[in-house]
């Protein structure tokens, strides 16, 4: 084999390894779930989000700037198209303190508002997210008409990836049959709070206990 050919073969081997490493990194990133504590077993009474008494209520917490949450909203739209008659949904958008006036005015808000049966709610400083223990954008809690938790978790299969998922499948099963193999699923999305804020929230929670 001449020197030129050896060079191309070496280039080819390096190329294959680099591309394989890149796709492995991509898949690992997409499949790494965000933090989740699980929503409370009973609808928090102090919550200002209205709960419907005649049907199940789904609450989805969203970071207005998180690009991954577009996939969660796309899946919510599919879910609502099928279960609009037996499900009410609220998309709760985080709005931290001391951010600009337009910080939460992103394409996600009109996208959520456009879904039939969905109400959008602004969550100043993440108060509601803390009540529902939502840590990651896309975190979804489903409560029945009596306010009992049916499901808590995510509704996408990976970070920012549309398509069916364990969470969606379990919610569908719960709404159709009242049963599911599990009542949770991993949540994929941006963190609703940064690490110092999460630590502070955990500290104040421990103090209260």
């Amino acid at each position: 084999m001449d020197r030129g050919m050896t060079g191309w073969v070496a280039f080819g081997v390096i190329w294959v390894l680099t591309v394989a490493a890149g796709f492995t990194f991509l898949w690992r990133y997409k499949l790494r779930p965000g933090e989740a504590e699980g929503p409370p077993a009973v609808w928090p009474t102090e919550s200002r989000i209205p709960r419907r008494q005649d049907r199940a209520t789904l609450v989805l917490f969203a970071h207005p700037q998180c690009p991954c949450t577009r996939a969660s909203l796309a899946e919510l739209a599919r879910l609502m198209a099928r279960f609009e008659d037996r499900l009410s949904a609220d998309v709760v958008f985080l709005r931290p303190s001391d951010v600009g006036a337009d910080w939460d005015h992103t394409d996600l808000w009109p996208r959520a508002s456009a879904i039939r049966g969905v109400t959008t709610v602004r969550d100043d400083d993440g108060v509601e997210a803390a009540r529902f223990r939502a840590l990651t954008s896309g975190a979804t809690a489903l409560y029945d008409a009596q306010g009992r938790l049916l499901f808590g978790g995510g509704i996408t299969s990976a970070r920012g990836h549309e398509g069916d998922s364990l969470g969606l499948r379990r919610i569908r099963s719960l709404l159709l049959t009242g049963e599911a193999d599990r009542h949770d699923a991993p949540v994929f999305g941006c963190a609703l709070r940064n690490e110092p804020a999460r630590r502070a929230a955990r500290g104040s929670e421990e103090e209260r206990q």
Binding site: W8, V19, Q65, S165
Partner: protein, 233 residues
């Protein structure tokens, strides 16, 4: 055995010339397609970066933002996918390995673009569009390489992360065959089209060689007549 029959010799010369013309035409098409794909690779790279910057510029942790992994992947993984096919197209245009590497890279671009657009079903059409463009080579084996990469991607992801391929969590075992069938469906017709194109190219080369031979014979005959006319009686 050496044949002396002038008709047989002329026929052999025409066949050789037809083969030369066919190979030259084929090389021209393959080299042009290599260069076309080199430009397409650059275009897809820029498009991938643009998509990442528009759709997912930042990842967030509360109020803190960082550049989204999609942007880095579009730049570096997109660049890595493109660099070898571009280098081969520039320095080894027309080489059989070049077009197979390009076919593999084009399918890898489909996979990357699907991820960068958040798994949108519409982006999956890039696979079929790419197979159509690969048919520009008029070489059905290139389509096989492209199909193998698609199948390998489906196999690996189908095992590790089925919902990213099939849209459902527990796909039936034959779902793999369903996807493979539609890719094969497309590839079979493109391959038939490639073979027909080659047949037509061969026919054009043969006609060209015939016309060349006739022109040459005519030129020789007229030269002889001219020389004869100039000779004083």
């Amino acid at each position: 055995m050496r044949t002396e029959d002038p008709v047989a010799l002329a026929t052999q010369a025409i066949v050789r010339r037809a083969e030369q013309r066919f190979q030259a035409h084929r090389l021209e098409i393959v080299t042009w397609t290599d260069r076309f794909f080199a430009r397409l690779m650059v275009g897809q790279w820029l498009f991938g970066i643009l998509i990442a910057l528009v759709l997912s510029p930042y990842a967030w942790e509360g109020k803190v933002r960082t550049v989204h992994v999609h942007v880095w992947l579009a730049v570096f993984l997109g660049g890595a996918i493109s660099v070898l096919p571009i280098a081969l197209a520039v320095w080894r245009g027309g080489w059989v390995v070049t077009r197979h590497v390009i076919a593999a890279a084009q399918m890898l671009w489909s996979a990357l673009l699907i991820h960068l657009t958040g798994g949108r079903i519409e982006t999956h059409f890039h696979v079929f569009g790419s197979l159509g463009i690969l048919a520009f080579y008029r070489d059905w084996t290139v389509l096989v390489t492209g199909t193998v990469i698609v199948v390998a991607d489906h196999l690996i992801r189908g095992i590790a992360w089925p919902e990213s391929v099939y849209g459902i969590v527990n796909p039936e075992w034959w779902r793999f065959l369903e996807h493979a069938f539609w890719v094969t469906f497309s590839v079979v017709f493109l391959a038939v089209s490639c073979l027909r194109s080659l047949k037509e190219m061969r026919l054009i080369a043969e006609r060209g060689a015939h016309i060349e031979a006739l022109s040459e014979a005519e030129w020789r005959r007229s030269s002889v007549l001219e020389r004869a006319a100039k000779v004083p009686a």
